[in-house]
């Protein structure tokens, strides 16, 4: 079916008189597309879009207008604006909205003799949309009840075989098409374990039957011209207000340029359903949370995105001052969305946040007092500079990277974990640039017990495991899906997957005479495609075939590609990772799932950060300094009425769960009593422990990661009852609170007044002075006669350790 897709606009005289028409007289025209409809087969359909304008904004009227087909025998139209053919002929569709009118000619052909149904182009989408080939059903690796399809239909040839030939061809009955199992089961005319997936007598049902009747052809004999080369969606971007809706239309385009409306056959998925959700018909519904959602549209392996923006109108946006480009770009976005940022954060909250974020450590009471007393306007940036040079910076970031580099000592041996820990520590201590980090990780050779990241490859011995982990870790691209099937929401195919794995085929682990292992690099080889068996030349993601003529170690070529200034992923991935750490949420989320169909919530900012990362030559500290000195980082975590529901635009600071190790250190610090770790010298802090298998109830319930994946998401953030109970009642923490060398005892033994004691305890836990109200509250613990000051100090300390303000980084 071919349609003309240019818009027509008919301007209606604007009524400017009469108060009664307040809202509608702004609507000047109906814009209907397409302007003419041609339906050329029995199962074809055409989605109309009827747009109008109100208050200068485009709005979708498709479901508000009334439709009428002049000759009801020729075609019918439903309330969603979908036109379906009935018999060959010509007629008109009248579209009415209030006093605006429009007419669209409809032509129906091919009802008697449609072009043959092509399995590849017309049946596979049905199987996909009905969920037949989904991962939970026949699409899973072993199929379902003996019938297996390729997941999302990525391998139509195999699917065609499965349907037409497997099980001795019993799934189809060419002689009696309507007795075919394949036809009867999906529509549940015969009992079907998966239930009714295809409505009887729907266009899908009819097309299946016609396909079988025509001999169940893979192609319709016109494969040269009929291959679908792309999809087009409308609208590509759109603004919606709370509660509004927008219909999306999907058009497939084949090699010959022929266009066919496939809205009913495409799949739709929102990446932020709390902002805007989409149903199976492609109708987007906006919630009342401002922000952006990307609606992913998938059809026959082609993907496209419609970006839906939900601004909050009528908000007077007062643009705050800017410290750097981060502020400019975040304010731009907030202005566009009509979200007012929170006010700037107070000194104390800023201090606690920046300490925990950069060095995983609370400020001491003295440090806190000094900072709060400092009158210099530059004290914040000075503090940032100081923290980045603290030794704990290296400890904290070493811990974070040990997690995602999967330094599980049980799997890579304690020696391997220590080797990696030392390498990381030196890396962060010397602030080596991140491109060097990547290069070192990629090209490491030699003994895995020697300082270096070699033990990373102990758990990634297979080339494809190494490839997909490196891809997720350093490029932010999850290519794992493409191991078994074409990536459902990206362009990556199985060939891309094995192409990337080809860089790691020279990698071997060699046993050394002393029992240790060494990473050695031999000549690599290309790997076969998992389905066709054809050798796929090694190539990086989206890059040309790799040239190994100048390098013996294939990994070097990959490292060159990755760290080159043109690489589209590398700088973005590390920028997004660091941003997510400091702001509690990535610009792209999940942080290691960067793809065109999962856009950043603030694309200009994402681009600018990646450019900045390259400008500072991957100097992570310099980059961090830019983030921390921005006003955005220094916003309060208290939301206002306008930004309360905002989750993705950084209008206020996030509440972040502290990693288990940081929380334990914070408790020790506040109570003034360190933790003695079994087998470790006195004075070691939790963030310094490389041994991820050290038994600890605390770490277990607070979610220390098992280092089983390269995903940062492994660190559990959710609170549990066991956590709350442990903080409230555990003997281990009670012992610290009441310890004879602990803070409570020291304070109660001092000469300080009740007021001063309370202040000290607030500074030690929450890094701030108490308010008057809090002072009054806490002084209730102290008896009037000053007896049992120690108990009172313990009780106040206990209460503070159990406050949300303490447990969270905010």
């Amino acid at each position: 079916m071919a349609t003309l897709c240019k818009h027509i606009s008919i301007t209606i005289a604007v009524l400017i008189f009469g108060v009664g028409f307040a809202s509608e007289h702004l609507l000047a025209e109906l814009r209907v597309s397409p302007i003419a409809v041609l339906l050329d087969s029995a199962e074809s359909s055409q989605q109309l879009l009827v747009m109008g304008e109100r208050d200068g904004r485009e709005i979708d009227l498709t479901r508000s207008v009334s439709f009428q087909v002049q000759d009801k025998r020729i075609a019918r139209v439903n309330s969603q604006g979908l036109i379906q053919p009935l018999v060959d002929g010509k007629t008109n569709l009248n579209i009415k909205w209030k006093d605006l009118q429009e007419t669209v000619p409809i032509e129906v052909t091919g009802m008697q003799q449609s072009a043959a149904v092509s399995f590849r182009n017309e049946i596979v989408p049905i199987l996909t949309k009905a969920g037949c080939n989904s991962g939970g059903c026949h699409g899973k690796a072993e199929g379902q009840n003996g019938f297996k399809l390729s997941v999302f239909g990525f391998d139509p040839l195999a699917d065609h075989q499965a349907i037409t030939m497997e099980s001795r061809g019993r799934r189809l009955s060419p002689a009696n098409p309507d007795r075919s199992l394949f036809y009867l089961k999906g529509s549940a005319r015969l009992p079907h374990g998966g239930g009714q997936k295809i409505d009887p007598l729907s266009y899908r049902d009819k097309r299946l039957l016609r396909w079988i009747s025509e001999g169940a052809q893979f192609d319709n004999g016109d494969e040269e011209n009929s291959e679908i080369i792309g999809i087009e969606i409308e609208p590509k971007t759109h603004h919606l207000l709370a509660g509004e809706q927008q219909q999306i239309r999907v058009t497939a385009i084949d090699v010959s340029g022929k266009r066919r409306c496939v809205t009913t056959e495409a799949e739709f998925e929102s990446n932020a359903t709390s902002i805007a959700d989409v149903d199976t018909l492609g109708l987007v519904t906006a919630s009342d949370i401002p922000g952006e959602a990307a609606i992913l549209v998938r059809y026959l392996g082609h993907v496209a995105v419609s970006r839906i923006t939900l601004p909050r109108p009528d908000n007077k946006f007062k643009r705050p001052a800017e410290n750097n480009f981060v502020d400019r770009l975040v304010w731009n976005k907030l202005e566009q969305l009509g979200i007012e940022p929170s006010s700037g954060v107070g000194d104390a909250e800023f201090m606690r946040r920046v300490y925990l974020d950069t060095i995983g450590t609370l400020p001491t009471v003295t440090e806190a007092k000094q900072f709060l007393a400092d009158k210099s306007p530059k004290k914040r940036s000075r503090l940032i500079d100081q923290l980045l040079e603290r030794p704990e910076y290296a400890d904290f970031w070493t811990m974070a990277w040990l997690d995602i580099l999967r330094a599980d000592q049980l799997k890579i041996s304690p020696q391997g974990a220590v080797a990696m820990q030392r390498w990381l520590h030196r890396h962060f201590e010397e602030n080596r640039p991140f491109d060097r980090f990547a290069r070192d990780l990629l090209t490491v050779q030699g003994n895995t017990s020697a300082e270096g990241p070699g033990s990373f490859y102990k758990i990634l011995a297979k080339p494809d495991e190494a490839a997909r982990s490196i891809s997720q870790l350093l490029l932010g691209v999850r290519i794992e899906c493409a191991q078994c099937h074409h990536h459902p929401s990206e362009r990556w195919s199985q060939a891309d997957y094995v192409g990337l794995a080809g860089f790691f085929t020279g990698l071997k682990l060699k046993k050394l005479p002393n029992g240790e292992q060494a990473v050695v690099s031999l000549v690599g080889k290309d790997l076969p495609h998992p389905r066709s068996g054809e050798l796929i030349a090694a190539r990086a993601l989206g890059a040309e075939t790799a040239d190994f003529s100048k390098a013996l170690d294939r990994r070097r070529v990959l490292a060159d590609w990755m760290t080159s200034s043109e690489n589209p992923f590398f700088a973005k991935a590390i920028s997004n990772r660091l941003w997510a750490h400091y702001f509690g949420r990535g610009l792209v989320e999940p942080i290691d799932d960067i793809r065109d169909t999962n856009p950043a919530t603030n694309e200009p900012l994402m681009q600018a950060l990646a450019a900045h990362m390259r400008d500072v030559r991957f100097d992570v500290k310099a980059f961090t300094r830019t983030l921390l000195n921005s006003r955005v980082y220094q916003l309060s975590s208290n939301a206002n009425a306008s930004n309360e529901t905002d989750v993705q635009n950084f209008s206020h600071a996030a509440y972040k769960a502290m990693p288990a190790e940081v929380l334990l250190d914070a408790i020790c610090h506040s109570a003034g009593v360190g933790e003695k770790f079994n087998g470790w010298p006195e004075g070691y802090r939790a963030i310094q422990i490389w041994d991820n298998r050290m038994p600890s109830y605390f770490f277990r319930i607070f979610g220390r990661p098992v280092r089983a994946t390269v995903c940062e998401c492994e660190r559990s953030n959710e609170p549990s009852i066991a956590q709350a109970l442990h903080l409230l009642n555990s003997p281990a923490i009670a012992e610290k609170i009441a310890h004879r060398k602990g803070r409570a005892r020291q304070l109660s033994d001092s000469e300080l007044s009740t007021r001063e004691l309370i202040s000290e305890l607030y500074l030690a836990t929450l890094s701030r002075y108490p308010t008057d109200k809090e002072e009054t509250l806490m002084s209730q613990a102290f008896a009037a006669d000053g007896s049992d000051r120690q108990a009172a100090c313990e009780d106040v300390l206990w209460a503070l350790l159990n406050s949300k303000e303490f447990v969270f980084n905010h």
Binding site: I701, S716, E718, S720, A724, L777, W798, S803
Partner: protein, 446 residues
């Protein structure tokens, strides 16, 4: 001789003590705060069936109980297969068990024996993972982190998520230590088991962290409560946003601490001596008793881990003196007790291990791992009692009837609990993960 004493550290043949391995984070693979999309669910199939069971007690005989020495006797097999135990009749005509199960034999009309369970994972930690998650482990056996189900949720976590708590008690509890395969996987810490890490046979048994440490005088407890309430009040006024989540958990924790129902449920010492004796003063017996109390208190899924069944060496003395009699007593007492209290209909009891044991007695007079055949015992919760379902061959080596796999088991439990086993959640990579992958409800059982 290799003889087990309960209450001691238990070692399996992989050489790692289970108790010793309690060291890894109750980790979800996803972080719910940042990946809201992944938490969204998609209902794929028909609406869930009406629930027959409100709660489930899952008695896990860890190590692999010998099915032929307990539930599936083969009196006509040669001695090196049959073993030293005799078969006895039960109170259901035609149903026989070994003479090691005299108490259970008297009440065979109250449960159903499924003899045809069979799967292909012949190791402990991977088998545990398989049985509790329905998915083959991706790690090698011998890696013993607890929980070992880093990705897939256990059936306990599924029940916790789908059915939620029925009162102040957590929805999902493990006794008397975490179950290795019992973690929440990618469902996250919210659906992790609440673990009562204490031995209910001990006089000083108490639930960890449930009441204030040490002997804090009531006056100070009151002060602390007042201070915390004051802080909470101030925080509430100041904050909007995420801290609310933690508040909910504090509330739940406080409810647990202060709820009379919870307190009562945990107070096993208030049980009359004769009841405690009836269950047996063994870890399994007292855990079974505590499980009944927890179910009465509203817990949805109690997983009891009873280790010590990995009997490779000289197995018959320990089977005869400790293992089987303890299980015989605990199971029969639990089922009878539930029935007397009118709770059996709404409480599903399942007893099994990760595998059965080899038909032939080995050179060390023990039996080795044998996942090809195992017997599972079901009682209550809407199951039809008094039956034997399935059969094994003459050596109890493999089912001769349609084998009942792990997915069948989990689908049956889900279905009895009123859970739609086809419901699907998105895993961290965005892949749809159904609660149970395939499987059929065990025919004739329901």
């Amino acid at each position: 001789m290799f003889h087990f004493k309960l209450g001691q550290k238990q070692r399996n043949c992989d050489g790692v003590s289970r108790r010793h391995a309690l060291r890894l984070g109750a980790c979800g693979l996803i972080s719910g705060l940042t990946l809201p999309r992944l938490l969204e669910l998609e209902i794929k199939a028909a609406a869930p069936q009406a629930a027959k069971a409100k709660s489930c007690i899952f008695l896990f005989l860890e190590g692999g109980p010998p099915h032929q020495d307990m539930w599936d006797p083969k009196p006509n097999a040669p001695e090196e297969i049959r073993g030293p135990f005799q078969q006895i009749a039960t109170n259901v005509p035609g149903t026989f068990v070994t003479d090691q199960l005299p108490l259970c034999a008297k009440i065979a009309d109250k449960y159903t024996i499924v003899r045809s369970h069979s799967h292909r994972d012949n190791a402990h930690s991977t088998g545990y993972h398989y049985v509790m998650t329905g998915r083959k482990a991706s790690f090698r056996d011998g890696d013993n982190p607890v929980p070992n189900n880093e990705f897939y949720p256990s059936i306990g976590s599924v029940v916790a998520r789908e059915r939620g708590p029925r009162g102040a008690l957590p929805a999902y509890i493990n006794l008397p230590h975490p179950m290795a395969g019992g973690g929440p996987g990618f469902y996250g810490a919210e659906y992790a088991p609440f673990v009562i890490e204490a031995d209910p046979t001990q006089p000083d048994f108490e639930v960890k962290d449930l009441s204030p440490a040490g002997s804090l005088p009531q006056k100070r407890q009151n002060i602390r409560k007042k201070l915390l309430a004051g802080i909470d009040e101030i925080e509430r006024q100041r904050n909007r946003g995420q801290a609310k989540t933690m508040s909910t958990y504090y509330e739940k924790a406080f409810n647990l601490m202060t709820s009379p129902a919870a307190k009562k449920a945990f107070d096993i010492n208030s049980e009359p001596d004769e009841v405690r004796d009836k269950y047996g003063r063994t870890q399994l017996g007292q855990c079974a008793l505590l499980a009944r109390r927890l179910v009465e208190g509203g817990c949805r899924f109690v997983g009891v881990d009873a280790p010590g069944w990995d009997v490779h060496f000289n197995c018959f003395p320990s089977l005869q003196t400790d293992l089987i009699p303890y299980a015989d007593r605990a199971f029969s007492a639990l089922v009878t007790d539930l029935e007397q209290r009118g709770l059996l209909d709404e409480t599903l009891v399942v007893m099994m291990g990760e595998m059965g044991r080899t038909p032939r007695i080995n050179a060390q007079a023990g039996r080795d791992h044998w996942s090809m055949a195992q017997t599972i015992i079901f009682a209550g919760g809407g199951t039809k009692p008094g039956q034997v379902i399935g059969a094994t061959d003459k050596h109890a080596a493999a089912p001769t009837t349609e084998p009942i796999g792990v997915s069948d088991l989990l689908r049956t439990i889900s279905s009895l609990m009123g859970i739609n086993a086809d419901k699907t959640y998105f895993g961290p990579l965005g892949r749809p993960i159904p609660i149970v992958d395939g499987g059929k409800v065990i025919r004739d059982l329901v």
